[in-house]
């Protein structure tokens, strides 16, 4: 069954891996290309997040809150607690930043729970050849988040420690010596180690999210392959029915797992951002 569908399956998956962009990209980095689908869905989800939270914020009552306000306040409170636990300085930016990251990334990931073929098929009907609906399966989207966080890390490190403090943090540890000469020899070693640690942060942040969601989407695609290109013929054979049943059960189970994954990934991204920024704030 898998063998006879093999060419179709490859095409199907590759089709789902292709962005709706202005033109085909050349090479790994090509700034003349833009992925319309990623931008469209992330802006749409940003509006969903901002609209909902702004709506609640405008009519926030100090009395007994209604259900929506209750849910929103619960999220806000959890984020606030998390930030207070981790970050001990005073910053008006970090808690809203963590809230934005958590909600936005959660909504990105949530698009993965929309049936994989639903929106692409609708887009196909509207004349669009390709559509990727999950922004967090686009490295551009995840790197946009992590690079912005990275810029903030550098900004706060410079602000709190000064350029000299920042540079000494990168060069005078983990190895240090009393002897000036030995210390001078240790500086390049330290710098190498610390740079790797430092640069690993944005890369790990974005790749972790991307990897999890890419894999999740791929599993949905593989589950969808079970009944690929059989159409209504599937209803005429036992194998077809088994395929439908298998797709339904596996899809159901994987969606259940994926709800946890998407929430945890959004949470990890937000918490690590707070951790990195609080490390940037602290003196050693």
């Amino acid at each position: 069954m898998a063998a006879e569908n093999a060419p179709g399956a490859t095409e199907y998956i590759l089709h789902h891996q292709t962005f709706l962009s202005n033109k085909a990209p050349h090479g790994i980095i090509d700034f003349s290309v833009i992925n319309y689908d990623t931008v469209f869905f992330s802006v749409l989800l940003a509006l969903v997040f901002f609209g909902l939270f702004r709506w609640v914020a405008r009519r926030a009552t100090t009395g007994v809150p209604a259900l929506t306000q209750n849910i929103i306040e619960w999220i806000v409170e959890k984020v606030d607690e998390q930030v207070r636990d981790t970050f001990h300085g005073t910053s008006r930016l970090i808690a809203p930043l963590a809230l934005t990251i958590f909600c936005w990334v959660f909504l990105f990931n949530f698009m993965d729970l929309v049936p994989v073929d639903l929106l692409p098929a609708a887009a196909h009907g509207a004349g669009l050849g390709h559509l990727k609906v999950v922004p967090s399966t686009d490295l551009n989207a995840t790197f946009a988040l992590s690079l912005t966080v990275f810029i903030l890390i550098i900004f706060y490190s410079l602000k709190m420690k000064g350029p000299i403090g920042f540079i000494s943090e990168l060069t005078l540890q983990p190895f240090s010596a009393r002897n000036k000469l030995v210390q001078a020899l240790l500086v390049p070693v330290n710098f190498l180690l610390e740079s790797v640690t430092f640069l690993a942060r944005p890369i790990s942040l974005s790749l972790r999210l991307y990897g999890n969601l890419y894999a999740g989407e791929m599993i949905f695609l593989l589950i969808a392959v079970l009944t690929l290109s059989r159409g209504f013929h599937a209803l005429t054979s036992i194998g077809g029915w088994l395929g439908i049943l298998g797709q339904f059960l596996l899809g159901f189970i994987w969606t259940g797992f994926h709800i946890l994954i998407i929430t945890i990934q959004a949470f990890i991204f937000a918490v690590l951002t707070v951790v990195y920024l609080s490390m940037a704030h602290e003196h050693h």
Binding site: I29, N35, S42, R54, P65, A95, D138, A144
Partner: protein, 156 residues
């Protein structure tokens, strides 16, 4: 999969979104929550205070009731004492009055008896004189026989 202009656009959208959240979402929601927490704390404190006041008032009321009860029983005692005194007094007065009345009556009786005895004596003397004069057939001069008559009267 490649890195392209989407990255820059996404960063701008993200920056804008964080700015918006920081300015228009986080402060109002958190303020509302803090304000509510403050209100609840106030309410709880007021409730506790009210409870305390209630128990104080209850204690005070208890004390007042206890005092009133004590005073009432005191008054009742006093009244009982006074009543007993009054009854004793009345009894005393009544018995002395009775004795006085009795004495007066006895005196009166004595007086009446004496008077009656006197009158009877005179009458008997008159009758005796009458009878004697009839027996003697002559008049007895009362004046001349006054001593005799008196002696007679004394003997009766």
């Amino acid at each position: 999969m490649n890195i392209n202009l989407t990255l820059i656009v996404q960063m701008l959208v993200f920056a804008l979104l964080v700015f918006g959240t920081m300015k228009w979402i986080w402060p109002p929601i958190l303020n509302a929550m803090e304000e509510r927490a403050r209100k609840i704390a106030q309410g709880l404190a007021a409730a506790e205070k009210g409870e305390q006041e209630l128990s104080e008032a209850r204690d005070k009321a208890d004390a007042i009731i206890r005092e009133a009860r004590e005073r009432a029983s005191h008054i009742i005692d006093q009244a009982q004492h006074a009543a007993r005194d009054l009854v004793e007094q009345a009894k005393g007065a009544a018995s002395s009055e009775g004795a006085r009345i009795l004495a007066a009556a006895q005196q009166q009786i004595g007086l009446d008896a004496t008077r009656a005895r006197e009158a009877l004596r005179r009458e008997v003397a008159g009758i005796a004189v009458g009878a004697a004069s009839k027996l003697l057939g002559r008049e007895i001069d009362a004046r001349t026989h006054a001593d005799l008559l008196d002696q007679l009267a004394m003997q009766i």
